[in-house]
Amino acid sequence: MAKYSEDFTAQEMIVVAGSRTLEDNKVVFAGTGLPMVAITLAQLTHGPGIVPVFEAGAVGPELSRGLPLSVGGSRTTYKANYLLGLNSAFELTQRGYADIGFIGGAEIDPYGNLNSTMMGSFPEGYQKPKTRLPGSGGASDMACSCERTIIIMVHEPRRFNEKIDYITSPGYLDGSPNARWRAGMAGQGPHRVITTKAIMGFDDETKRMKLLATLPGETVNSVQEATGFELIIPNDVYEFEPPTVEEIRLIREVIDPLGYFVRKKIKE
């Protein structure tokens, strides 16, 4: 049997890329949706020691009772190693217990700042946005206080903008030296941006987004074209290893057979 899958969707690819980015034995604070799927996949493959944290209160559960439909749902709690509430989960994070925060957003800028609040003019249009999004939830808390964050996004030009309408979850702010530290944040900021087209990081100096790898079917050009601002393109951009047959099988048969998060069009 072939090692690599030849039939996978963009959403499946994003989950695989997210999963592979997670190191084993780290504490990973999981946002709702695709991050939960990616963590489950990582636990089932290379990361059995990953300790998931859910903002509603569950810490370190086994994710073997079906895909949670909510970060507060019953399936987040099986054999949990701690189970209080939102305050305790975010306090752990402020304290330094969350190695990784795994979040999404509707819109992102070159410094990894995310918008999940509103499209329209801000602040004038705050009370009457063009499009109202669900709001921060816990994403902005994770963005501030997890030691590093991994961001999952749909890669479309309208979502990647030099200037976003509203900063919900701070990345590197304006990219100036130590901007996060000076703002009072505890965590180090965005580590990776994983999209339907590429894996990106951030330049150490300028804190601007930098292409690291293209996903199967994409090129440096196709990624840049789908990005509403100029990416830093280093010389060593590589092609990301395609999803394996086993990874795709796990997503489809074990983790999200009803396609709650993976087959649907990704929304925020």
Binding site: T32, G33, F54, E55, A56, G57, A58, R65, G66, L69, S70, V71, G72, G73, S74, T77, Y78, L83, L84, G85, L86, N87, F90, Q94, T117, M118, F122, P123, Y126, Q127, K128, K130, T131, R132, L133, P134, G135, S136, G137, G138, A139, S140, D141, A143, C144, S145, Y166, I167, T168, S169, P170, L173, R180, R182, A183, G184, M185, A186, F261, K267
Partner: protein, 336 residues
């Protein structure tokens, strides 16, 4: 600085004068809502997204009609969507004036159609916070503190439109955010088990329920089952809300349906899309399905038992069967 609900000093004084005796607090849900939910109130909505939301209480509020409400919560789904649906159908009977929120949507079930409908028409005043912000604001309230510090979200645009204050920490010199306490007039809370005095035992994630309850002036509790007081106090470490905070206790089986009540029933994966779908149709211009939903499931029934009776039994059995949550720590006696 303005306060919605009670100011910290008002909240303290209110509670200091409150009767904290251990007495039977069972009333009907109708009476509880009549007595403790007023037009113009700031209402603390317990639960998290669609987990243990106070659906039964919200349905009763809608039946009675309440106007100019301020809703305070971290992340909510169905409870707010139901109140919003009642508002868009008849604003003269039910209305939301303001929301202090972190997130309103349904996670796996999709975004909130009526958040878009109401906010894009500027029909509700919004104050955005993060989940931790709202949770910590209730926590400050429950601790009797006027504010609580917090490390986020600094640099976010939320700070430009909410009441958070940035200061330099007097100990480290670094910037830190201060969040004003939230003291709702009334908290609406659904739990798995309560006793007749109001002691509550929460199974699974506590969300921000104890904090919301203890920050508020009044608390209405619905529970999936009332249990003997002695069964409650046998495990005092597991009591999440002590009796003296609670004003009214009502046994309402399926009081959080169609959402998840940990250890008792799972999300109804059919009914939530049914309701949400009607809201989405409303947003797109077709009010009829939403009107029918309300006439059938809310206005056409007297209480939650009648609501549940309209759901196919197979769905009810399914939400019980598929619930994977942790069951009770111990045996208990259900009050007859």
């Amino acid at each position: 600085m303005y306060w919605t609900g009670l100011s910290p000093d008002e909240a303290r004084q209110y509670l200091a004068n409150k009767d904290k005796s251990k007495r039977d607090k069972r009333v009907s849900l109708k009476e509880a809502v009549q007595k403790f939910v007023k037009d113009g109130d700031n209402i603390g909505i317990a639960g998290f997204v669609n987990g243990r939301q106070p659906i039964a209480i919200v349905h009763e509020i809608i039946r009675q009609g309440r106007k100019d409400l301020t809703l305070s919560y971290q992340s909510a789904g169905l409870a707010i969507e139901y109140l919003a649906g009642a508002m868009v159908l008849d604003e003269s009977k039910n209305s939301i004036k303001r929301m202090e929120l972190a997130y309103w949507a349904h996670e796996a079930f999709g975004i909130s159609p009526l958040l878009r409908y109401l906010s894009e028409r500027n029909k509700v005043e919004l104050e955005d916070w993060s989940n931790y912000n709202m949770s910590a604001r209730f926590k400050a309230g429950s601790m009797g503190l006027p504010f609580i510090p917090c490390r986020g979200p600094m640099g976010s645009d939320m700070l430009k439109c909410n009441r958070a204050v940035m200061i330099d920490c007097p100990f480290t010199g670094r910037p830190i955010m201060l969040l004003p306490a939230s003291h709702p007039n009334v908290a609406l809370v659904h739990v798995q088990e309560a006793d007749i005095y109001g002691n509550c035992r929460i199974q699974g994630p506590l969300f921000t329920c104890p904090e919301i309850a203890m920050a508020s002036a009044h608390i209405i509790v619905t529970c999936d089952r009332l249990i003997e007081h002695d069964d409650m106090t046998r495990f005092p470490n597991r009591i999440s809300i002590p009796f003296f905070s609670v004003d009214a206790v009502i046994e309402v089986p399926f009081g959080a349906y169609p959402g998840n009540s940990h250890g008792v029933y799972y999300f109804d994966e059919k009914h939530i899309p049914e309701f949400r779908g009607a809201c989405e149709k409303f947003r797109k211009g077709n009010a009829e399905p939403l009107k029918e939903y309300y006439d059938n499931y809310i206005f056409g029934v007297e209480n939650t038992a009648e609501f549940i009776n309209k759901i196919p039994a197979s769905q009810i059995l399914q939400v019980q069967k598929s619930e994977s949550g942790i069951r009770l720590d111990a045996a208990y006696t259900v009050l007859g």
